[in-house]
């Protein structure tokens, strides 16, 4: 077995997880036009809810996962209602919104660490059988295969919602011009609340998947968020297809980069890519939508 197919497999898995984070981030950015830094912590919430319900309380796995996804969605929704919506109503600047979301991020991360300790935890337990699949010379685990399929399903559904449903079109209208959207009778704040719920729930799902694949740590939210944001910017901020493209590109760049240098440089590689894109192509590959 060559090493290249394995790296390709790893890149695709990483790309799928980043894509989920980027999707949620982009959805929220499209509707509100600000960088929601709390998104990373919201994602981790999902993973820890599953950890608490499934590993600590012993509830069935599927219930835990549903609660985790919904829990992240609710946290995102509540943040919008108590923090971001009042700020937007006051026509606060982007800087104020970013700082506020940074505050929310810090609080959530610390609260998770207080409840579950800062230790590294994994959702995976020995009772789950580890089936390995060999695809084109690379080996992936069953968990990774599930991540990949689920991610593709979510992306497909989202694309369908965006293009084919009234909800998707209304969100596009808000992102084009919120004032006009309001004039033609769209209840923008209600819609944005839902967008926060959906985007956060998707992020929560990503957090859960990481919990199974590599494990959970309260502080992983920041790096997760940054991967999502970088994927979004590389692909084109607010462009949901761009975000997915950027995520896979990032997954490949990181994994091949790590192969060439060392694992410790992963985050630095991601940021180097971000900075290169910001300098030479700030609109991303597909441009802003």
């Amino acid at each position: 077995m060559g090493i290249i197919p394995q790296i390709i497999a790893n890149s695709i898995i990483a790309g799928a997880i980043y894509a989920l984070v980027a999707l949620g981030f982009n959805l929220i950015y499209r509707a509100t036009n600000f960088f929601n830094l709390a998104h990373g912590a919201v994602s981790v919430v999902g993973g820890y809810i599953v950890f608490g319900l499934y590993r600590l309380l012993g509830l069935p796995l599927w219930i835990a996962i549903i609660c985790g996804v919904l829990g992240s969605g609710v946290v995102g929704y509540v943040l919008e209602k108590i923090l971001f919506l009042p700020l937007r109503k006051r026509k606060s600047s982007q800087m104020v919104l970013i700082v506020a979301s940074l505050g929310a991020f810090t609080i959530i991360q610390a609260v998770i660490a207080i409840i579950f300790s800062s230790q590294f935890q994994t959702l995976f337990d020995s009772s789950m059988e580890t089936k390995l699949y060999q695809i084109g010379g690379g080996i992936i685990t069953q968990v990774q295969l599930i991540i990949l399929i689920a991610a593709l399903l979510i992306m497909g559904t989202l694309a369908w919602v965006k293009e084919r449903t009234m909800f998707g079109k209304m969100v596009s209208a808000i992102s084009d011009d919120a004032v006009v959207a309001r004039i033609v009778g769209i209840n923008t704040n209600k819609l944005i609340g839902r967008v926060f719920f959906i985007g956060s729930a998707i992020a929560g799902f990503a957090g859960i998947m990481i919990g199974f694949d590599t494990g959970l740590e309260p502080t992983m939210g920041m790096s997760l968020l940054m991967k999502g944001v970088i994927a979004a910017i590389v692909g084109g901020v607010g462009n949901i297809y761009g975000g997915v493209l950027g995520a896979f590109l990032l997954g490949f760049a990181e994994n091949f980069g790590v192969w060439q240098v060392s694992g410790e440089w992963k985050d630095a590689i991601a940021f180097a890519i971000l900075i290169l894109f910001l300098i030479f192509r700030p609109k991303g590959i597909l441009g802003k939508k």
Binding site: L83, I98, G103, A110, A113, A268, I279
Partner: protein
């Protein structure tokens, strides 16, 4: 008494950090999240030069400040085009890269183990051995910094910075080379942060990468936002409060790790609540627009 002296030394170090960050965020209006990187450069310069090469603290600190200035010049050059959210993100990225370098350049920085056994400063045969003497040194350098920063903000240079913050385009019409001003203030601010880092390294006598993460940048940002941007009094009072407030948690008798996390919750709450109710902070001259 030892404990009070310890707090005063910390206050002096963070006072320098807060004042220097305020030059960028408050006076020039650029949301920098890279301050801890320069703080780290100063600390590592003193750590490496004084342990491996037995160099005098003051010479090492000056070298550290120069290195920080050169690095700031390069980073500032990349950052010159960005504003608001992109500026915050890119500067954050540089902090992550800096920490990766502290972690991975093991031949110089000893990686995650850090560098112990840093000596206390010595001047013409006089050693700042006790904490009381060290406090005097720290406060003296803090006062010098405050004076220097005050001088900058009162000068014509400082007025140009404020004008950049208020209306960059108009200033450009008048023929000001805005990039040069932005670069200059970034370099000055980075060098001052390195001075704080030098003081920190020599006081704690040990450095490791975890002290200089982007989280630390957020802590320093919280200080100046709490005190109020573009106000020297604000930066100093903000630093004092955020040093003193979490210390109160010590006396409640919480376990160490919970107290550390509660401290993070406090920082996050301060950021979020201030944005909601008083974005100007305590003495702010400039409200983030």
């Amino acid at each position: 008494m030892e404990y009070i002296i310890h707090l005063i030394i910390l206050f002096g170090i963070y006072g320098i950090l807060a004042l220097s960050l305020d030059l960028i965020v408050g006076f020039t209006g650029l949301l920098s999240l890279s301050h801890a990187a320069f703080y780290g450069i100063g600390a590592y310069a003193v750590a490496v030069l004084s342990t491996t090469y037995g160099m005098n603290f003051f010479v090492a600190a000056l070298i550290g400040m120069s290195v920080a200035a050169v690095v700031a010049l390069m980073i500032g050059f990349v950052l010159r085009k960005f504003k608001d959210d992109y500026y915050a993100l890119a500067s954050f990225g540089f902090n992550v890269i800096a920490v990766s370098i502290f972690l991975n350049w093991e031949s110089i920085t000893k990686g995650p183990l850090g560098i112990p056994g840093i000596k206390r400063p010595e001047l013409f045969g006089f050693v700042f051995s006790t904490n009381t003497l060290y406090m005097i040194l720290t406060l003296a350098l803090f006062a010098l910094t405050a004076l220097f920063v005050w001088h900058i903000t009162k000068s014509s240079f400082g007025r140009v910075l404020r004008a950049i913050r208020e209306d960059e385009k108009a200033l450009e019409v008048f023929g000001y080379r805005i990039t040069r001003y932005k670069l200059a203030i970034y370099v000055i601010s980075g060098a001052l942060a390195a001075l704080a880092g030098a003081l920190y390294a020599s006081y704690i006598t040990y450095v490791d990468p975890s002290t200089f993460t982007a989280n630390e940048s957020i802590v320093i940002l919280s200080m100046i936002i709490l005190g109020g941007l573009a106000s020297l009094r604000g930066a100093i009072v903000g630093a004092a409060i955020l040093i003193a407030l979490p210390e109160a948690l010590r006396f409640v008798g919480l376990p160490m790790d919970v107290a550390a996390q509660l401290r993070q919750v406090i920082y996050g709450l301060i950021l979020a609540l201030l944005m909601l109710y008083r974005p100007k902070g305590m003495y702010g001259e400039y409200e983030m627009k």
